[in-house]
């Protein structure tokens, strides 16, 4: 641009006017960006509102004592019973099986990757674990039903075609990457000087890992276990496919049973009229699920605060 001709240049007041507009649009953009960030809060409010309002309708028809103590769950029958413990038992058993697989496996993999493995192996192993964690749960459900169950039936011939055990085992494999990856991050954050101190005292790598690194990283490990619990409790498709969907109050993993989540899927697959009692049950079940997850999250926060180590 040639500055020779003075009349081409904007006057001072023109430039200031432009600046004023600039401030207005800046404010506007900031407000828009804030709204985008607020959507996440709205989502939470929406979840709480939907679950609570539908559950209030539900509890006007069903007493909360029946809901918690009844030992039958037959909401769609003429003789309707609403004992949520039936579904909770399925959720607890399948999650317990999953965690019994995932916590030892995930922790060992994490210790191995953080303390023993060469950096090259770690660079390859982490993405592979990520891929494992990215497999759709419906595919894991297929795997549990058509591969793991027949395999287990060879060892335990009396195992039925649907069982909490095979669903739980596969769920465990699915959760391993979450635990391994988060725990490994926590252990790698432990300062090197602690390990060096331990080695200097003549401790082996394994002894150092178990007695120095793991306790130092415990708050991170606890966080990863809590996340694993949330995943297990909220997992849906593996159970819907491989654990059968009939409500069954049992603590035996070799039996088929419905869980809170698979019940919701089962009801949603049918055609329930909006506002019917059957429609309301899935929100009551959803509320129960959220409350269980919430309890574990609070426990996790507490564990983290109690065992947080500062270096």
């Amino acid at each position: 641009m040639s500055a020779n001709n003075a009349s081409d240049l904007p006057t001072v007041s023109d430039r200031l006017a432009k600046n004023a507009m600039r401030n207005v649009s800046e404010r506007l953009i900031e407000a828009l960006l804030f709204c985008a960030a607020a959507v996440s809060v709205l989502t939470t409010i929406g979840i709480v509102y939907v679950l609570v309002s539908e559950s209030i309708n539900f509890f006007q028809n069903v007493s909360i004592v029946d809901f918690l103590t009844d030992t039958q769950w037959t909401p769609l029958f003429d003789d309707a019973h609403f004992g949520i413990m039936v579904l909770v038992s399925g959720t607890v058993v399948s999650s317990a099986v999953a965690l019994a697989v995932a916590i030892p496996m995930g922790t060992v993999i994490a210790i191995y990757l953080s303390e023993f493995a060469k950096p090259k192996l770690r660079e390859v192993a982490k993405p592979v674990l990520e891929l494992l964690g990215g497999i759709p749960t419906i595919v894991f459900g297929y795997f549990a039903l058509l591969m793991v169950t027949p395999l287990l039936q060879k060892i335990m011939p009396e195992l039925p075609g649907f069982s909490l055990l095979s669903a739980g085992l596969v769920m465990g494999i699915m959760i391993v990457p979450y635990i391994a990856s988060l725990s490994e991050d926590a252990m790698r954050a432990v300062p090197m000087s602690l390990r060096e101190g331990s080695y200097a005292m003549g401790a082996t790598k394994l002894y150092t890992a178990i007695h120095v690194v793991v306790p130092a990283a415990f708050s991170g490990l606890a966080a990863s276990y809590i996340l694993a619990v949330s995943r297990a409790v909220g997992e849906t498709m593996i159970l819907a496919v491989a654990a059968g969907m009939q409500p069954n109050l049992t603590w035996n993993p070799t039996e088929p049973a419905a869980t809170i989540t698979s019940y919701i899927v089962q009801v949603a697959l049918g055609d329930l009229p909006h506002g019917s009692i059957g429609y309301q049950t899935i929100f009551a079940a959803g509320l129960t699920l959220i409350l269980i997850t919430l309890c574990f999250n609070i426990l996790g926060q507490w564990l983290r605060r109690k065992f947080r180590e500062n270096y």
Binding site: A36, A37, Y112, F116, G134, P136, L206, T236, T261
Partner: protein
């Protein structure tokens, strides 16, 4: 303690035992890692072997059918593609805007704190709960029905935390001097974001978006919960084509169409008693796995490239 009484042999035995335990532990670690790898191979391998007879062009071009041999995944993959389009169009602008706000604009106060805690907690909410949310809000309160729009928005909310977190991480990696340089030549905060921060953070944002979409494309539970149909033998109306005599579909009519997606089709086939449908489930599962694994693969590769290339 009596170490002074240990003989050299005993010390050697102690060391040997310690070393043995180290080796044993390493072996267990490698075995556990191998199990993970084995599961991936078993899954993919089984699906390829079982589903190979269905993996041909007809399978992609046929609608669902009551006869297993004639059934295909046309409505499922088209449905998945359309739902992902809606999800991406909703989640990317919202997620990036939220991430930019939190990193570049937000003041350190209680409002920001609530938003941050909230995003962390949303990431731990079971996906089926998003289905219930959208059943109550999108399907009934907003009246969107069991449509592609509802499904896309549901999954967008589900992956929003992933997009926000990856945007924030990508932005945080940009050094302050970039912002200072931009502002020093008179750019406003938004111009700095628009011309510097967002373009430089793009690879990181893209990685997060791809990982989020890979998660969304495999999600089944929330979509079943909103009441998506499992048997669909038609495609959503393409814009400006004739849907019935004399009536042309509008540009956005497909948004309101009933639909099915890949995971629901697989679920439908695995839950049928006839074993012939297992072959279909295997073939469709393989197609879905290829989609998800390649998306994740691209994301991992992008991240790897990024770590290599960027030197500020």
């Amino acid at each position: 303690m009596q170490h002074s009484t240990l003989t050299t042999e005993q010390v050697r035995a102690l060391i040997a035992r310690g070393k043995f335990r180290d080796t044993l532990f390493q072996a267990i670690g490698i075995i556990f890692l191998a199990i993970g790898l084995l599961v991936i191979f078993l899954l993919v391998g089984d699906m390829v072997i079982r589903g190979s007879e269905r993996l041909n062009l007809d399978f992609f071009m046929n609608f669902a059918s009551r006869r297993a041999a004639n059934a295909g995944i046309l409505s499922a993959w088209v449905g998945s593609l359309l739902v992902m389009t809606v999800t991406a169009f909703a989640a990317v602008p919202l997620g990036v805007a939220a991430g930019v706000y939190l990193e570049e604009y937000a003041k350190r106060n209680w409002v920001t704190e609530i938003i941050e805690i909230n995003i962390t907690n949303l990431a731990a909410v079971p996906s089926i709960v998003y289905g219930l949310l959208s059943l109550g809000i999108f399907v009934y309160a907003f009246g969107f029905g069991q449509s592609i729009l509802t499904a896309g928005l549901t999954l967008a909310l589900l992956i929003l935390p992933i997009v926000i977190v990856s945007t924030r991480e990508a932005i945080r990696a940009i050094p302050a001097m970039i912002r200072e340089g931009s502002m020093a030549v008179g750019a406003t905060r938004w111009q700095t974001c628009r011309y510097h921060i967002i373009p430089y953070a793009m690879p990181g944002i893209l990685t997060g978006v791809i990982i989020g979409l890979a998660r969304a494309i495999g999600e089944t539970a929330p979509i079943i919960t909103i009441g998506a149909l499992t048997f669909i033998a038609f495609l959503p109306p393409a814009p400006f084509t004739e849907v019935s005599t004399g009536v042309n579909a509008g540009l956005f009519d497909w948004l309101m169409s009933p639909f099915t997606v890949m995971p629901i089709q697989i679920f439908n086939w695995t839950s049928r008693p006839d074993p012939a449908f297992e072959i279909n489930a295997a073939a469709a599962g393989f197609v879905l796995m290829v989609m998800v694994l390649s998306m994740n693969g691209i994301a991992i590769w992008l991240r790897y490239k990024m770590r290599k290339n960027i030197k500020w």
